[in-house]
Symmetry: C2
Subunit: 168 residues, 2 copies
Amino acid sequence: MQNRPDITMDAVYTAPGYLFRRMQQIAVAIFIEECRDFDLTPVQYAALIAIRTHPGIDATRLSAVIAFDRSTLGSVIERLEAKGYIERKPAPEDKRVKLLYLTKAGSSLLRDIMPAVDRAQVRMLQPLKPADRKTLLVLLAQLVDLNNEASRVPLRAEDALEHLGKVG
Amino acid sequence: MQNRPDITMDAVYTAPGYLFRRMQQIAVAIFIEECRDFDLTPVQYAALIAIRTHPGIDATRLSAVIAFDRSTLGSVIERLEAKGYIERKPAPEDKRVKLLYLTKAGSSLLRDIMPAVDRAQVRMLQPLKPADRKTLLVLLAQLVDLNNEASRVPLRAEDALEHLGKVG
DNA sequence: TCTCAATTGACAGTATACTGCCAATATGGC
DNA sequence: GCCATATTGGCAGTATACTGTCAATTGAGA
């Protein structure tokens, strides 16, 4: 054979970076499909959970808690506020800061959407054997954790607690 | 403890969808960092490799070969053309189609950028033990392949060959 | 107290990633 | 040859995801 294009493309198809991108696209597609009755994206869902977990968090700390950058989060927060799922209240002791709170509608939405989110998470790994699902998840969690500092916005879970004075 | 916010966030942190997103963000950050001397993104790199592998491919088939949707690819192609790495030529037998070819500059770029791309791919998995790297890659490749149809733009590697009359 | 560095949220700009929709063009059934 | 259908590339619109910059505000040190 003179022409074997597949050999060249295999360098792309088997590259970790390409596989991570494809898997992320598939994961988002599955999430959106399972949650189509609720007008919510994966990022918006993560933000809502974080705000429910840390009521009164500000945008900068929120970005550290879910590891999305501040610029992106600005528009995410805007959309969540427009949909009535969260409220933004100015902080009394710091005029720069706006504190984030879940509304009743946001709270209800999280309760209602839970089964769909769970279905989505299950579906993503469904094609693998149960043991392999566990293996993949463990390795991926390790890799993400160990590569945390390589990310542009490293995860800083403990940051979220500081404003509540629970971590020093 | 009355307040245990971490327990709630763990539902996000251990969710496959969240881990896939974080890993993808990390992978892109590492790619961009290693390839900072070359003004090229991961998607643009994949597109260039695919065009080199299938000279004279059109945009629709290209989208099937690298599994990116047509709309996104339109602007990617535009940028690659603006940088002088590819050429768009109208197809003689079909006035709708524009065929894509690598330029000399594109060819040189691919040759020069290769070491940086390889470094990036290695760095993404570096924190894991060698055996775990292999395991993760194999499982991920399996999962992506088995979930191919769940993607909005399933990979159709064979489509790229049709215009060359090599697959029936 | 005053000044300077850091923080916060906002904005502009670029690049994916998707949904639709559209006009031009091809093609297959009749 | 004609017409319904499909394909192709382009466009508008939405949503991440990042880079930078900026003004307002805060806080820490001289």
